[in-house]
């Protein structure tokens, strides 16, 4: 239910808080009212047709680096 799908924002529609997000090659309209700072090319988390948050790529990399360090020592 609280599923969020990572999608890349490929278009923003002028004034309306709407855009187009692409998930695995499939494009659909999303509202960007909940993350107005998102720009074309950004990764966002899409839930029930709304971009809920911008996904911070640097933080994702940091988490992966931390994961890689676990159990290695």
């Amino acid at each position: 239910m609280c599923l969020g799908i990572p999608a890349r924002l490929v278009r923003l529609d002028g004034d309306a808080p709407l855009g187009t997000a692409e998930v695995a090659g499939v494009r659909r309209s999303v509202s960007t009212a909940l993350c107005p700072e998102a720009a074309v090319g950004d990764w966002v988390l899409v839930h029930v047709g709304f971009a809920l948050a911008r996904i911070d790529e640097d933080e994702a990399l940091r988490t992966l680096e931390l994961l890689e360090s676990m159990g290695a020592g």
């Binding site: 239910m1 609280c2 509202s31 009212a33 909940l34 911070d56």
Partner: protein
């Protein structure tokens, strides 16, 4: 898929397993409650219960919105769907939830106009395209979902859409957690908190768990590596005698949550005095209704919804599953009278319900 596949790596999972085996002593018993049904689904789908050391146990919590809807509200939804001129819209998850006399899907088979939508925006679009019908949207979900309903109501208001209303069942995450800590008698050592609820609500709603109950909390993302990492963080807190709210899902979750979502919620909703939860009973200030000034978009104001209280079927033990008191396979009717094809209780309906997830991925491996 980006941000998904990387967090499913087998090699990294092996590292995390080694770390947990190193941390958890053989004679320890650590019980972590994953609050969100999405986490429950990942845990069973990826077999994490078999991956973690025997001293570590996952308890499944109340964070599946489909599961916590009481039967009376399902009956109210079916009643609404049967009203003349109503076009009733719902997320797919709710279609098969059993009411006292069948589900929305069965009501559809009997002639009610029930349609599955992916987004509340789709429900509003149906209202625009069907001006001679009244479109009701069955709004369910925690903080992840309620801002979407709020923004859709605001859009309906801005466009003066006359034939659209919301049957609001939105709930909030903190009150049921407090209820479980206060009343269930179940020993929980730490909480894996829901990542997408927290993308909206931030991490502050869980502060009371650390401060008042002295239990650690880690807000977690949804892939198997995320959940294993959250388990490592919780075990470390426990061993170091810390009780803090930590954030594993830093790529999405901010401490203060999403300010645009808060603003939309504030404009549209107000807290109900009390709301009934399956398995937990009445919980004060745990759910939203529409503000009085938006009453024309409130299905409960526009229609004389019966609002009956209906007790669960006697054989159904969803209530105990939802607070972690029993595991799915310990329910008397699990897999016999209650199956995903013919569910008796809500936990067997949604793929995020603990029973449905265990039925799909864990059967035949009933732990001792």
């Amino acid at each position: 898929m980006r941000f998904v596949d990387e967090f499913r790596s087998r090699e990294l999972a092996d590292g995390l397993r080694a770390e947990l085996e190193h941390l958890v002593e053989p004679d320890e018993s650590i019980r972590l409650m994953e609050v969100c049904g999405g986490h429950t689904h990942t845990i069973y789908r990826h077999g994490l219960t078999d991956l973690v050391p025997p001293g570590l146990e996952f308890l499944h919590g109340p964070g599946c919105p489909v599961c916590v809807i009481p039967m009376g509200r399902v009956d109210d939804a079916i009643w609404l769907a049967a009203q003349p001129g109503v076009l009733f819209t719902t997320f797919g998850d709710m279609l098969r939830v059993p009411g006292r006399r069948g589900s929305l899907l069965e009501a559809k088979a009997k002639g009610a106009d029930v349609r599955m939508v992916y987004s509340p925006r789709d429900a509003l679009e149906l209202a625009r395209r069907n001006p001679d019908r009244h479109v009701v949207f069955f709004a369910v979900g925690f903080e992840t979902t309620s801002p979407s309903t709020a923004l859709t109501v605001l859009e309906a208001e801005a466009d003066d859409v006359q034939n659209f209303s919301v049957f609001c069942n939105h709930v909030t995450i903190a009150p049921p957690l407090r209820a479980i800590l206060e009343t269930s008698g179940v020993r929980i050592d730490g909480f894996i908190a829901p990542g997408h609820v927290s993308a909206v609500a931030g991490t502050r709603p869980y502060d009371f768990i650390a401060e008042e109950y002295g239990k650690p909390v880690v807000v977690s993302a949804f892939e198997p590596l995320d959940i294993l990492q959250s388990a490592v963080m919780l075990v470390r807190q426990l061993h170091e005698g810390r009780a803090e709210v930590e954030n594993q899902y830093t790529r999405v979750v901010r401490r203060d949550g999403n300010p645009y979502a808060f603003a939309a919620l504030e404009r549209v909703f107000t807290l109900r005095e009390t709301f009934e939860w399956r398995g937990l009973g009445e919980i004060e200030q745990s759910a939203f209704r529409l503000r009085d000034e938006l009453a024309r978009f409130d299905a409960e104001q526009r229609f004389a919804v019966p609002g009956l209280r209906v007790p669960d079927r006697k054989a159904c033990q969803c209530g105990q599953v939802l607070v972690g008191a029993i595991r799915p396979w310990e329910c008397k009717v699990f897999g016999t009278a209650c199956t995903p094809e013919k569910p008796l209780g809500t936990c067997m309906v949604s793929s995020e319900g603990a029973c449905a997830a265990y039925y799909a991925y864990g059967r035949g491996k009933v732990p001792a």
